[in-house]
Symmetry: C2
Subunit: 382 residues, 2 copies
């Protein structure tokens, strides 16, 4: 096939918009020069809107996992009791981080592919009244589930003063997020998903109430100490060398979101989810999640009568279309399509039309064009 063409439709890293690439190529600047301060000044108000918070959103140089660990080490201490909701691989990661830090973890395991309910969380909080923090996954990348963090935060607060800490890595920037209104205390995301950047930045925002906990937390920490990031960002600076080219790109990615309009960005993602799901339904290929619990950013498909990994291999070799496989016990059982960030309905129609061909090549008996037709119909009726 055409060299140089890569259709990257995994749930992150995602493709980089040309103007973001261009911004990242700007000549390097001194990180203590006024230009760097001006850059952070420009970024700050735009990032707040994406998170839905009046608090500063703190960018750290690190992967999403570093952001999750930062959330843990700032808010809880060894022997604190916490609840970790595990709806998939990334809930499990939160649990592993807590374990590594000797946190006393109550683990609420939900079958992979399902969302956690507010009631389930509330029950755990009743069972364990000393829980200091609830760790949640907003979009569970491994299953394509969007957990109802708004409702969960509400339910939890009726029962407990536990902090609500959410991993928004694979959806913030692509789905509506109102951190303050919803009562989320710490929200973490990464740069390489709906934020349309390469990996390398993680972002954290912290509620007033969580700042109090963080201030009092005596746990040793240095690079991950959120207080230093907060204090420096108040002066338009960073405690350590910032990943400047990613910040150049971030500023432009945020400009693109503002140009489109944040509401339109969210509507686009919802539309892409609906188009993708309609196509697989029309082709009679089962989806892992229900419509209600499905994320606008990633769709997990659970083939009943063909090999998911063999199918992905065909799509990759034939069209350089990258799809993701399943993780842990879903390995070989599902494949996942990312439709977030720099991805349009036109791109959805493209991957669907390719997927149909790859399905035929994988030996699946389908009517060509039927999935595309269903997606087109969703688009037109939108």
């Amino acid at each position: 096939m055409l060299p140089d063409q890569n259709l990257l439709r995994i749930p992150g890293p995602t493709p980089i918009p040309p103007s973001v690439k261009q911004a990242m190529s700007r000549p390097m600047i001194g990180h203590r020069d006024p230009e760097a301060a001006k850059l952070l000044q420009e970024i700050k108000p735009k990032l707040k809107k994406v998170f839905g918070t009046k608090e500063d959103v703190l960018p750290l140089a690190g992967s999403g996992t570093s952001g999750l660990e930062t959330a843990v080490v700032n808010t809880v201490q060894p022997d604190d009791e916490v609840l970790v909701v595990v709806t998939g691989s990334f809930g499990d990661r939160f649990d592993k981080i807590c374990e590594a830090h000797n946190i006393k973890t109550h683990r609420l395991d939900i079958p992979w592919g399902e969302a956690v309910t507010p009631k389930q969380v509330k029950q755990e909080l009743i069972k364990h009244p000393n829980i200091k923090a609830v760790f949640l996954t907003y979009c569970e990348t491994s299953t394509g589930v969007l957990n109802p963090i708004h409702e969960i935060a509400q339910a939890a607060k009726e029962q407990s003063d536990a902090l609500i800490i959410a991993d928004g890595v694979s959806c913030v920037g692509g789905v509506e997020t109102k951190m303050d209104d919803w009562g989320i205390d710490v929200l973490v995301t990464g740069s390489q998903k709906a934020m349309m950047l390469p990996a390398g930045l993680t972002f954290l925002a912290v509620s007033e109430r969580a700042w109090k906990v963080i201030e009092e937390n005596k746990r040793p920490r240095f690079y991950f100490d959120l207080r230093t990031y907060r204090d420096k960002l108040a002066d338009d600076s960073t405690p350590y060398t910032p990943a400047l080219s990613l910040l150049f790109g971030l500023n432009q990615a945020l400009n693109l979101m503002e140009e489109e309009g944040l509401d339109n960005v969210f509507k686009r993602h919802t539309l892409m989810k609906k188009m993708t799901r309609a196509a697989f339904k029309a082709l009679d290929i089962p989806l892992l999640t229900t419509d209600e619990s499905a994320s606008p950013t990633v769709t997990a498909v659970k083939p009943a009568d063909f090999d998911a990994d063999e199918f992905r291999k065909i799509a990759k070799e034939e069209f350089r279309l990258s799809l993701a496989g399943g993780q842990k016990h879903l390995k070989g059982e599902i494949f996942r399509v990312g439709h977030m960030g720099y991805c349009s309905p036109a791109d959805v129609l493209q991957f669907l039309s390719i997927i149909e061909i790859a399905l035929v090549k994988a030996g699946k008996d389908i009517e060509l064009g039927k999935g595309v037709q269903a997606a087109q119909t969703v688009y037109l009726n939108n």
Copy 2:
């Protein structure tokens, strides 16, 4: 829609592959430094293969039109008799250039959308035995016709010693071209079509027999004097400042063609033509040209019951899909889809699925997915 996404499917300029963009961003070099000579050394053998010639292919800084004028002013003189075959807008341009240079022009007008036949050319040569050169268009961009220049050159040579001069701007690099074997004396192309580069370079190759004519041509010319380019390129140099960033890009574009394999490049273009045509046929939307005369690089569609320009406007506003309109008397009558250069079957499926939606929005009654299905079927049966 998604800012920063532009689906450029006009018949040139065409999208630039990422690695070519990157190559063009290389730091500037001195055009008389050894690096520049090395660059030309690398380019030379690869360009020859694209043209199908043992002669050096000469790159000039200029648009395709400058290449056409270069072909004219080097090969013919005022009061020379020439035949200009006009199958569309670019044949007409060759005629206008000849007129501007006071060449005695016999014009063979072919209805737009049809290819010229060898017989028609031969008849003109019988009628006008003093014709010194025949100007032909290989792919007529304005109609999507690929003229049979091989057969025409053969037929012409049976009748006359006239030079055969072909404009290959919108197809060379995308369709098989065997300049030497076919008896083409001067072949011109541009950089911004199947060559996967921005506009700004034109390329000319000249047969031994045409060089003799050019040597003896006393007509005043300076920048366009092909002899200076030939002599300098023999020493891996250029007479005037070369467009170096385009040459950086050209070297990489040629590397991509070699990586894919030139034969595979041509097969890909033929496949994309077949997919595109099958889709419009399935949707019952008339095409301007026959299958036999259609170019692998551009398809002209002639709607019977909807407004071509209104439809294009919808495709552009809705999906940022750029399609071309008709030129001269075909304005408003046709639209044209470019599928050349950095364009894959996956891109064809994408523009077809978008076009179907735009057709519905333009009020055309079609069955969604039907065109895509036809194209998918062509792909699978290929």
